[in-house]
């Protein structure tokens, strides 16, 4: 039931782009994305609701395809501050079921 995130880890040079994917086997009401920096608590980035809408935060955007039960997070022109682990949390009821996370490392 846990959503599948891919890739598990990615290393980028500052300024490069990345895509993180999240797939669920269950029907979704919404998808949440959080970022956790090393040694810190997860912080909410954005929520995507049904309707295929895209959201943006800084130069980070995301899409949600409820038919395919998938969401993707797009990081454009990555900055050092984007480093951390990104978790998707598909909402299939009242509760988020968290993915295992994608570790993003940005090198100068």
């Amino acid at each position: 039931q846990q959503p599948v995130q891919s890739p598990q880890a990615v290393i980028l040079r500052e300024g490069e782009d990345a895509v993180i994917n999240c797939s669920s086997s269950k029907a979704l009401y919404s998808v949440h994305w959080y970022r956790q920096k090393h040694g810190e608590a997860p912080v909410f980035l954005m929520i995507l609701l049904k309707g295929g809408e895209q959201k943006g935060h800084e130069k980070i955007s995301a899409s949600f395809n409820e038919k395919k039960q998938q969401s993707s997070l797009y990081l454009t022109a990555s900055q050092l501050s984007y480093s951390g682990t990104y978790f998707c949390g598909p909402d299939s009821n009242y509760q988020l079921i968290w993915g295992a996370g994608t570790k993003l490392i940005i090198k100068p």
Binding site: S30, E40, A41, P42, I47, F87, D91, Q95, L96, A100
Partner: protein, 114 residues
């Protein structure tokens, strides 16, 4: 308070001892979650409180784990007879009504069982 507060921030205990971890949610938030995060791993759901409803305890790994939420606010997670595999960061999150399940996390309690 301004955010979710957890205490202690670090706890070192001996195998077999009981520990209590505390979570002060954001004032007015009706929902409260406990998660466990082992090193380099994702978030493992433990228990969920919503208002006055019976808690969802489906994630508790054993009967050594229990949690209470008093007065719909402060929550305490208790681990009895701790084992080394209980070592992890325990995160608490709270959520407001009609907030589309957006969760606000505390900084966590790092538990080390020797």
């Amino acid at each position: 308070g301004a955010g979710v507060s957890q205490s202690p921030s670090n706890k070192v205990t001996e195998k077999g001892k009981d520990v209590e971890l505390r979570c002060d949610p954001i004032s007015g938030h009706t929902a409260l979650y406990w998660y466990r995060q082992s090193l380099g791993q994702g978030l493992e759901f433990l228990i969920y409180f919503q208002g006055n409803s019976a808690p969802d305890k489906s994630g508790l790994p054993s009967d050594r784990f229990s949690a209470e939420r008093t007065g719909g606010s402060v929550s305490t997670l208790t681990i009895q007879r701790t084992q080394q595999e209980d070592s992890a960061v325990y995160l608490c999150a709270s959520q407001g009504m009609g907030a589309k399940n957006i969760q606000y996390f505390g900084a966590g309690t790092r538990l080390s069982v020797l």
